[in-house]
Amino acid sequence: MNIIREVLKELVGMFLADARLTLATLFLVAVVAALVGVWRVGPLVGGGILVLGCLAILVEAASREARRVSRQ
């Protein structure tokens, strides 16, 4: 049972290492899905928002962690 618990913990940790990064990424994908599917924006605009949004989320997550560590 201990091994199963550790396997599940590892699986969850793979995708939820940083909760804010996970939530922001899911939110971004939902926004792009709405833009492309509901508001019918051009696929390139949707794609551009997806790419730039991911890069922004990445930089924000790394900067936030660096600030947190430097405060300690």
Binding site: L21, L50, C54, A62, A66
Partner: protein, 251 residues
């Protein structure tokens, strides 16, 4: 294979190979600690058992995913790849910037050896069992990410076997080097590899999430390369941007 197919196959096989290389180094450190304390038999049995479980997972889940409609599959796997890849890249940026320490295989080896010696002192009747289980757990846990990556980059494009072979080749390479050297593989540039894997997984994640949402990327499969260059450039820039404040904080 035509050039377009290679443009997806090469990153897929490369990602599986590199991810497997990194995880195999980490698993090998613990298997080596087991072998040093209790001999190679329990270490090899535990590792082989875990590799068997991982193989069954790939063989079982891979064909199942082929039955899922392409767009929902690409979207689900793309989002999971984005979360995994950006998580790896974030950590690699922080390590490259010196914000968090690099992975130290020698220290992990010493700690694992100590812990295993402690548990075998408390339960001396089942030494080989504990040792084998430790090796099994290490290989299974480290291998889970590789299994996901192999399935994620391979499923839906018929690349499951090439990606699996890439992962297996990396495991065998680390095993061969590790058995020859018989020391933790501390000189492997783990963070550089993790940086590269994070970049590739994030690029795959954006590409497949977009395709799953119905976005036709310009240049089709070649867009993957452009995304990889973007993530790499931004990752390197972020690491150098964060380096100075972190160094100042330490001072």
């Amino acid at each position: 294979m035509d050039p377009i197919a290679w443009s997806v196959a090469a990153p897929a096989v490369g990602s599986a190979f590199l991810a497997s290389l990194v995880e195999a180094v980490e698993a090998f450190t613990i298997v080596l600690a087991v072998a040093t304390l209790r001999g190679w038999r329990p270490a090899a049995c535990g590792a082989a058992g875990a590799l068997g479980v991982l193989g069954v997972l790939i063989a079982g889940l891979g064909p199942l995913l082929d039955r899922v409609p392409l767009h929902p599959l690409q979207l689900a796997i793309g989002v999971l790849l984005l979360l995994l890849g950006m998580g790896w890249l974030r950590k690699a940026i922080l390590r490259a910037a010196g914000v968090i320490p690099l992975h130290d295989e020698a220290a992990i080896f010493a700690s694992e050896t100590g812990q295993l010696a402690d548990s075998t002192r408390h339960q001396p009747t089942s030494l080989d069992w504990i040792a084998g289980l430790t090796a099994f757990k290490a290989v299974l846990l480290e291998g889970l990410e590789v299994v996901f990556i192999v399935i994620a980059v391979g499923a839906g494009r018929g690349l499951l076997w090439p990606a699996g072979v890439g992962a297996l080749a990396a495991c065998l390479a680390i095993l061969a080097i590790g058995v020859a050297v018989r020391k933790p593989l501390a000189k492997v540039p783990e963070n550089t590899l993790k940086f590269g894997i994070g970049v590739m997984l994030s690029a795959f994640g954006v590409f497949w999430t977009g395709e799953g949402l119905g976005i036709n990327w310009p240049g089709q499969d070649f867009a993957l390369g452009a995304f990889a260059v973007l993530f790499l450039s931004v990752g390197i820039a972020a690491a150098s941007m964060l380096r100075r404040p972190a160094a100042e904080a330490i001072q």
